[in-house]
Subunit: 146 residues, 2 copies
DNA sequence: CGTTAAATAGAAACTGTTTCTATTTGCGAA
DNA sequence: TTCGCAAATAGAAACAGTTTCTATTTAACG
């Protein structure tokens, strides 16, 4: 079931354009993280003219609005993933097939305590990401794809 | 007390060159993470000719050999930090003054269990980093530096 | 519809990073 | 100590992902 992205965009004060909707649907269809260029190529099948900067801009806006999450890849390029899971969690990413799986774990409480009480500092954000191989890649030895 | 970096380099099968030693000493002097360019500028004070690619290459080799750690900055540029703490831990980084503090916390056991038992996957690496403001920046409102 | 600010295309610029090639240098062997 | 050679480096150039710019198009609202 395809969610209605219109109210989501409205809540961010972004206009409901066909390209924003298409990009969200593309991400929503995927269980893997995608690069801006991969998204662009999918967009090109839907629109006769679509610029790569537009893809970057939309991804930026949606990431800024906490709608989509960035994947920190060892190759240091940008990747994006749309997760519908509302509660706070983190991700296990497969570096071979790019699959993303929810990791229902976070130690923010413990860390907050360490930082506040131990360092007298303030936590602004935290990164927790597990890189590895998913069960399929582990058993089938599927070669990596871009 | 300046550590002897020679055996460290030897263990990585890297030749002991003045530039590698200097770079290690520069990092060892700092409690903040540095950008390749910042390191390059410090190197330029020590060598009349020193290329930025050399800095990148050395940083790469040392990072590859687990001698130095990369900082995942929100700005997506590369930063490096030399931590002498031998046991496994993570870092709290101050996004204002670039200071790095050891965070003696890691949930790798719990996460490993979740991934192996829950997902039938394999963990290759994990990222845990806390971004925030250190006590000094919190109280003194020190403006950010590059 | 008509108006207006937001969104976009396409080209061009940007910038951190990597590659390339000739030259230099560390270091084990003689 | 000197030699020989693979490793390391400088400097220039290339690269690639990302961002900026400007004219044009479009969504939203009355
Ligand atoms: Zn996989
Ligand atoms: Zn998720
Ligand atoms: Zn968390
Ligand atoms: Zn440390």
């Amino acid at each position: 079931m395809k969610p209605d992205f219109q109210p989501l965009l409205k809540s961010l004060s972004l206009k409901t354009t066909p390209k924003r909707i298409a990009l969200l649907e593309i991400l929503d269809d995927e269980k893997v993280y995608l690069s801006p260029e991969a998204i662009w190529k999918k967009m090109q099948k839907l629109f006769r003219s679509i610029g790569l900067p537009t893809v970057y801009r939309i991804l930026d806006e949606l990431h800024e609005g906490n709608i989509i999450s960035r994947v920190l890849h060892p190759d240091r390029k940008l990747y994006y993933y749309l997760c519908r899971n509302e509660e706070h969690h983190h991700h296990f990413i497969c570096v071979s097939c790019n699959k993303v799986e929810d990791l229902h774990f976070c130690a923010e409480k413990e860390i907050e305590t360490l930082v506040v009480k131990g360092m007298k500092g303030k936590v602004l954000s935290h990164i927790l990401q597990i890189n590895g191989l998913c069960s399929r890649c582990l058993t089938e030895q599927v070669p990596a794809h871009g």
